[in-house]
């Protein structure tokens, strides 16, 4: 919904554009993001995103820890898809060190990573509904089932948020004995929860009226902006690193890449919803095939010293392409660790998507990007 913009002095009635500061403390900014909106009545003339409120120097901090300690910073960076970020880091370290994790550890990683993706998308569903204006119902629906996943993670790792469970060479300790049954219970709850969200939101007339056709992104634009993840797939490009560049053991599972047709906000929602179903499929397959055996590679020293070298490892987190660029100079610490954050690149599309739209639509645009501010600012 774009209308022609005329500068103030050319209008019939001379008016002034208003600067509205949204954030850093605002219920719809998903953290401490700030955007300065220039509005002409209800329409957004300009948008100036301001980030950096959550900058902690995670990259620099990692350079002062040894390779195992730095795992924790990945949790704190991508705090909704923690296992996804950990996996990326761990794979990067393994790539330099040439460690091959045992089969069982790989399966445990995939199961936890995919469950984590579902949990993250649940979070999106809840927050997205609230952004559009559902009075907390979507949030409660999502969190009921996200909670079952969290409980499982707590049983496995002992933590609810900062897991630090993946290690270079495997995982920290073995999963509980009844892991398979517990996972199946969780999957049942998750399947039911996906249907509930679907029923609440997908064909809701108001949501269709609000989101269909809102700020469409073409595949070319998406590539220009470096947009990845569900936002890219909503434009119609079936690009998923799990398939395009299979890492870990993702080439062993059968799953589909959901894509949208128009790249609008509604497609982004649909793609995420469909992705949750695909993740359930992956977990089911992984549970069936998970072997018994060791969970840690043999012969690793207490202090991990990596040979000299550098590596760029990337994987598909719930938000898109998460990358770790790691340089080792032979010490027990990374010489340089650079994080490529998907939410940061996706956020760069916000301004172009929002100019000319309504204030209310800007909030939905921001919600549909599904940012994690810790990951944007690092």
């Amino acid at each position: 919904m774009t209308t022609e913009y005329r500068p103030p002095h050319e209008r019939e009635l001379e008016t002034i554009d208003l600067n509205v500061n949204v954030g850093p403390q605002h219920p719809a900014t998903h953290g401490v993001f700030r955007m300065v909106l220039t509005v002409d009545g209800e329409q957004v003339v300009d948008l100036d995103p301001v980030i950096g409120y959550m900058h902690r120097g995670a990259e620099k901090l990692s350079e002062n820890c040894d390779y195992r300690q730095a795992i924790g910073y990945q949790d704190r960076t991508e705090y909704l898809g923690q296992f996804n970020a950990e996996l990326c880091y761990v794979l990067a370290v393994e790539k330099i060190a040439g460690i091959q994790p045992p089969e069982r550890a790989d399966y445990i990683r995939v199961i936890l990573t995919e469950l984590n993706r579902i949990a993250s998308h649940y979070m999106f569903m809840g927050a997205f509904g609230t952004d559009i204006g559902i009075f907390g119902t979507s949030f409660m629906y999502s969190f009921r089932d996200r909670e079952t996943i969290q409980d499982l993670f707590e049983e496995v790792t002992g933590e609810r948020m900062m897991y630090a469970y993946f290690r270079p060479g495997g995982v920290a300790w073995d999963v509980p004995e009844d892991f398979r049954e517990r996972c199946r219970t969780v999957l049942d709850a998750v399947r039911c929860g996906i249907e509930d969200i679907d029923g609440l939101m997908t064909e809701n007339e108001v949501i269709i009226a609000r989101c269909r056709g809102l700020s469409p992104v073409t595949p070319a634009q998406a590539i220009d902006w470096g947009v990845t993840g569900p936002m890219l797939r909503a434009t119609g490009l079936a690009h998923d690193l799990r398939v395009a560049e299979p890492y870990s053991i993702y080439d062993r599972f059968e799953f589909d890449i959901p894509t949208g047709t128009q790249g609008d906000v509604y497609d982004r929602y649909l793609v995420r919803l469909a992705e949750m179903r695909q993740s359930v499929r992956i977990v089911e397959q992984a549970l069936e095939r998970m072997p018994e055996g060791p969970i840690m590679a043999e012969g690793l020293k207490r202090t991990l010293r990596l040979p000299e070298g550098e590596v760029y490892m990337r994987n598909e987190t719930p938000r898109g392409e998460y990358g770790i660029y790691l340089i080792s100079r032979g010490a027990d610490k990374p010489y340089r660790l650079k994080i490529r954050s998907p939410a940061f690149s996706n956020l760069s599309a916000l301004r172009a998507m929002s100019i000319g739209s309504y204030v209310a639509d800007t909030i939905i645009n921001l919600g549909s990007i599904d940012i994690v501010l810790c990951e944007v600012d690092r």
Binding site: H26, P27, R210
Partner: protein
């Protein structure tokens, strides 16, 4: 007559309204939290009193004892008067609202006109609050409130007018007495729907909570208010909800009259009106728990392109029926057809941009 002396009588009646309405608000805040809680698989308040029933009382005490803050740059008089400008008209409207055949303060001949006129004054309060707060969210919210509430006042009035045309009166008691055998909703479904939708917009509740949208303007005109002044806004919202619900049950559902008849005693009339009013209120809460928010331009388009033309259509239908003295069922059929048309147009409007809803699946995965 409650008392012989007309002054005492009027005072007692006013006392009943002045007491009953705030008590109803306290109960309603609890009910709303419980109902929405159940819709969201929560229990709602459970701690204060049995099943949290005293939650409303606890909230009231909290709000009364909170500090009454005013931003330093706020326009003092505008800021401090705004809550009163919103609350007082809502209470004034209750003066002529008959709850049963005998329970009202003053049965005005132009009661309906009075209610519509008086409750329209509240809009000024929103603009005052939005302007006086010296806050941009409040300003945006105030402007939204002005646009929305004024726009929706018109279809609301037109729907009410259609009923008054058939009832040949603006006196609420007479309008109710007219519906002894058949309530108005049967022969005039279209004004009923327009009334409910426009009423929902007047209450700025989901899906029309645009002026106070939490995720956009963070409470809109009320963003700078705290304590007692904020609670006055909240009270105005709930009293307004009761007002619209009572008005709806009087005008369309036969009030205390249908199906018991006008002769039933107050012991039966009071529960009857309470049940009908509660129906409206629970529906408003249900909608709140399940629908997201419309955008301001969609809201305006809906008002001016769907609600208002159809409200006029109903007035034309009623005019024909009255002038040519056709039987009531003709009005019912025409109104029903118009309702179907309005619903279809609304539905088409929502679906217009919508494409097939399932995302494509790319079968690329391989099994080993």
């Amino acid at each position: 007559m409650i008392a012989d002396n007309p002054w005492v009588d009027a005072l007692v009646r006013m006392g009943i309204v002045a007491l009953a309405v705030p008590v109803a608000v306290i109960i309603l805040t609890w009910v709303e939290r419980k109902v929405i809680g159940r819709l969201q698989m929560r229990l709602g308040p459970m701690r204060v009193g049995p099943y949290g029933m005293l939650q409303g009382v606890a909230d009231t005490i909290k709000l009364l004892t909170k500090e009454d803050l005013r931003p330093q740059t706020a326009d003092r008089w505008t800021f401090e008067l705004a809550p009163f400008v919103i609350v007082v008209p809502v209470f004034l409207a209750f003066v002529t609202l008959p709850l049963t055949a005998d329970l009202f303060v003053r049965n005005l001949t132009l009661g309906l006109f009075y209610i519509v006129a008086v409750s329209g004054v509240s809009i000024v309060g929103f603009v005052m609050a939005g302007w006086g707060s010296d806050n941009k969210y409040a300003l945006l919210g105030g402007a939204r409130a002005a646009a929305q509430l004024i726009s929706y006042e018109i279809p609301l009035v037109m729907a009410v007018l259609a009923v008054a045309m058939v009832g040949q009166s603006l006196n609420l008691a007479e309008l109710v007495n007219d519906q002894g055998s058949v309530p108005n909703i049967v022969w005039q479904p279209l004004p009923f729907f327009i009334f409910v939708v426009a009423g929902l917009a007047e209450l700025y509740r989901q899906p029309f909570d645009i002026p106070v949208a939490e995720s956009e303007v963070v409470g809109g005109p009320f963003v700078e208010y705290s304590g007692i002044r904020w609670s006055m806004f909240q009270m105005a919202e709930f009293v307004n909800m009761v007002l619209i619900s009572v008005l709806g049950s009087l005008l369309f559902l036969g009030g205390w009259n249908w199906p018991l008849g006008n002769e039933a005693g107050a012991a039966l009339q009071v529960p009857l009106i309470v049940v009908k009013t509660s129906g409206f209120i629970l529906m408003f809460m249900w909608v709140r728990g399940s629908l997201p928010r419309l955008r301001i331009d969609q809201l305006m388009a809906f008002c001016w392109q769907i609600l208002l033309p159809f409200a006029f259509l109903q007035i034309i239908i009623n005019g024909w029926v009255l002038v040519y003295d056709w039987p009531d069922w003709v009005m019912g059929v025409l109104s029903g057809l118009a309702t179907a048309a309005a619903v279809y147009l609304t539905y088409r409007g929502a679906q217009q941009a919508a494409e097939p809803v399932s995302p494509r699946l790319h079968r690329v995965g391989s099994a080993f």
